[in-house]
Amino acid sequence: MGNQGLNGKPLVSIVSAGLSKFGKHEGLYARELFSYAAKEAFDRCPKLEPKRDVKAMFIGHMGEAYEHQGHTGSAVADWAGLLGVAATRTEAACASSGAALRSGIFAVLSGLADVVIVGGVEKMTHRSTSEVTEYLAMASDYPFEQFHGITFPGLFALMATAHMNAYGTTQEQMAKVAVKNHHNASLNPKAHLQKEITVDKVMESKMVAWPFKMYDCSLITDGASCVVLAKPELAAKYTDQPVHIVGSGQASDTIGLYERKSLTSLQATKTAAKTAYDMAAVSPAQVQVAEVHDCFTYAELMAYEDLGFCPVGESGALIDSGETCLGGRLPVNTSGGLKAKGHPVGATGTAQVYEIYLQLTGQAEKRQVKDAKLGLTHNVGGSGATATVHLYRSDA
């Protein structure tokens, strides 16, 4: 039964979006980086007067450690030309801006704000790999995971090993996720890595946490993303091509992976997806384009199952089928995903929204999925202690 009986009624409408180039941005602080994403969103929507219209900002930002800088909400608002606006940082590890999006929806639906900006930012590449490994691990359980040397790739590797054991999923099938997403990123001028790779290249790359090699892991990247949300009744005032958010789900799970019932799926994803699908009154089979949380290759396979794109245990067969490639039945991670577009953790959730916004407004150029009207984003925090799932529809 439809959650809150919304049956696909728009919760909020996206009237604009912006994205910084993802990659290495030497000498730029997070707040500076965010201004590039905001600028694109403002330029794309000339009818928006930011200082007059924007009533609140929710900014996903995961780590103070990178720049020794917390309190990011206000700093980012100032540098985006919005000094004075109600600005709040949201933190939910790698789902920080997925959670920012939820907060923005809460703000608009409540009636407290007609127009809000949600977004995210992370500046990571100026730190060493071991420092970043440590900062990312902070999103896992300290006393039982970090304390025993379990890293972030390690947590997803524990899930991948369990899936391989239960369903016969292979390292080659995981590698195919990387190959697909690198191909898509090669068509995305804003992606961090715009080059094709092969299964062999993945298999031969340096081991990170067995069975994950370097090319099974997402990139350490700098980047920022920005999305402008408006009350649906006001969307036409700002744009001829609004994208409506018609389903929104978020759920939590134990912070420690070891306490979960399943090691091969994320209950938080399944719960968030059910909420979003019910709210939008759509089924997984109706989704035409999706951006899912592929922080590691296995994570994308797990998402196929948790989001209902295929039956449990058959995600390896789904990647083999090519149906999730561009031109397939359900293209996934057309942007290149976290894997190749890059994973500036706090920026990731709303960067996924940016890609779906482009797809549903026909602006995805070489990556365009023909006639896409219904899209999905899926953002995971930590090893799955947070997940958000959103559904999008365009009227055009």
């Binding site: 790999t129 071991s130 420092e131 490994t133 440590e134 691990a137 006393p143 039982f144 995971e145 970090q146 304390f147 025993h148 040397g149 379990i150 890293t151 790739p153 390690g154 590797a157 524990l158 899930m159 991948a160 090993t161 369990a162 054991n165 340096k206 081991m207 990170v208 946490a209 067995w210 069975p211 994950f212 420690g256 992976l257 070891y258 306490e259 090691l263």
Partner: protein, 133 residues
């Protein structure tokens, strides 16, 4: 066991230093907690009793870590896993004394105290790891 002893993660590690693997059983609903908690997430009760659990179990999953945080770099590559103990309780940790390629899901392991030590300023807890039974 005295009920004055707090039902906390800190106390779990204090027991470990004494060579005991302890879980907390909720007196109201019977749920066994490992790690222990000050409040039962099932029934919100706060009346617990300590119970010693067997350190023997079977391996549910594992990975071998090659890229590690600074503190663990001297141990690379090292294998970590999640072990299912009796009562369905689960505990993650390092697996030591077994070559990575010999580690198999389902293998019988047991907790060993005072092992897998690395330098650490906080918290100064007793570590454990898993070895072959």
């Amino acid at each position: 066991m005295s009920t004055q002893v707090p039902f906390t993660i800190e106390q779990f590690y204090k027991f470990l230093a004494e060579g005991k693997l302890m879980a907390a059983k909720c007196q109201k609903c019977g749920k066994i907690h490992l790690p222990p908690r000050p409040m039962c997430d099932n029934c919100y009760g706060q009346d617990f009793v300590w119970m010693e659990v067997s350190g023997k179990g079977k391996l549910l999953t594992y990975t071998t870590i090659h890229v590690a945080p600074q503190q663990f770099q001297s141990l690379v590559p090292y294998t970590v896993g999640i072990v299912e103990l009796e009562n369905g309780l689960k505990l993650p940790g390092m697996i030591s004394g077994i070559p990575p390629e010999a580690v198999k899901i389902g293998m019988a392991l047991k907790v060993e105290f005072k092992a897998c030590d690395v330098g650490q300023t906080w918290p100064q807890w007793q570590r454990y790891c898993f070895k072959l039974t």
